[in-house]
């Protein structure tokens, strides 16, 4: 059952990823990315990361991607013209990338130590309580620094995107 779920959500993630790269209109790419994030949230649940799965849905799919969709709808720049990739890139680059990735996959399979298969429920430390404990004791400094980072980002976005007052 876990393998079947992994296969289904991995297939959804890969198909939506390919769709993101192949589609011409940015809004189709944005919705494919939302599909990838949903599939990844399900995979995080299989790996025992329940809080991260919920955070992925709330923050990534529900807020960041909505921001992307808004900007695409507001700018309304239309579909992309047919991309003219140099033949060097198309005929040499993509196969090289696939070869490199194949090597990495083979190395991952061979070199990593044998670990038990991923069973839903085997990892119990992904709850909100555990993450809260770790976040507010061991990782307190990064947590406070990210709050300052978000404040800087808010200020930057407001300053950059406001109307010019002439």
């Amino acid at each position: 059952m876990d393998a079947l779920l992994f296969m289904i959500f991995a297939a959804i993630a890969v198909i939506c990823g390919i769709n993101l790269v192949v589609q011409t209109h940015p809004i189709s790419s944005a919705l494919s990315l939302v599909g990838v994030m949903g599939a990844l949230a399900a995979l995080y649940l299989l790996l025992g990361g329940e809080f991260i799965a919920a955070a992925q849905l709330v923050v990534y799919a529900g807020a960041i991607m909505v921001l992307f969709v808004f900007v695409i709808m507001l700018l309304n720049a239309g579909t992309e013209k047919k991309l003219t990739v140099r033949p060097l890139g198309k005929y040499l680059g993509a196969p090289l990338l696939l070869l490199f990735f194949g090597m990495m996959a083979y190395l991952i399979q061979r070199i990593l130590p044998e670990s038990s298969p991923v069973v839903f429920g085997a990892f119990q430390s992904g709850t909100a309580a555990e993450i809260g404990k770790s976040l507010f004791t061991v990782y307190l400094l990064p947590f406070e620094v990210t709050s300052v980072l978000i404040l800087i980002a808010i200020l930057g976005a407001i300053v950059l995107a406001r109307k010019e007052v002439d």
């Binding site: 890969v14 991260i52 700018l75 430390s125």
Partner: protein, 108 residues
């Protein structure tokens, strides 16, 4: 990958392979596309692939730190998306185009 009938549960290296596939797709999108927003979304895809790697390693090492790192990656991605899209809006207001090849006035 082992051939034969599907096992009841999947080894975590398959999750890492999926993460590598998604990262490769993100790199492809980043290099081949010309619309700046699609390039930005490919960056988000790469960040998601890295998140999956973090969670998988957290499962393998039986520690919660991978989840914390993944959480910080999400927060930084949110901040980066906000500022990046604001910059894209400003560029569009000034150049009326979203193609990265046409924003080239500094080129010789």
């Amino acid at each position: 990958m082992p051939l034969g009938p599907l096992p009841a549960a999947v080894p975590p290296s398959w999750y890492l392979t999926l993460s590598a596939i998604l990262f490769a797709l993100g790199v492809l999108g980043f290099l081949l596309r010309r619309n700046i927003i699609t390039v930005f979304m490919s960056i988000e895809l790469m960040l998601n692939a890295v998140n999956l790697s973090f969670i998988t390693f957290s499962y393998m090492l039986k520690r919660v730190d991978g989840h914390i790192f993944s959480f910080f990656v999400m927060v930084v991605a949110a901040a980066e998306a906000a500022v990046g899209l604001a910059i894209i809006l400003t560029v569009f207001k000034n150049r009326q185009t979203l193609e990265i090849d046409e924003v080239s006035t500094l080129k010789n």
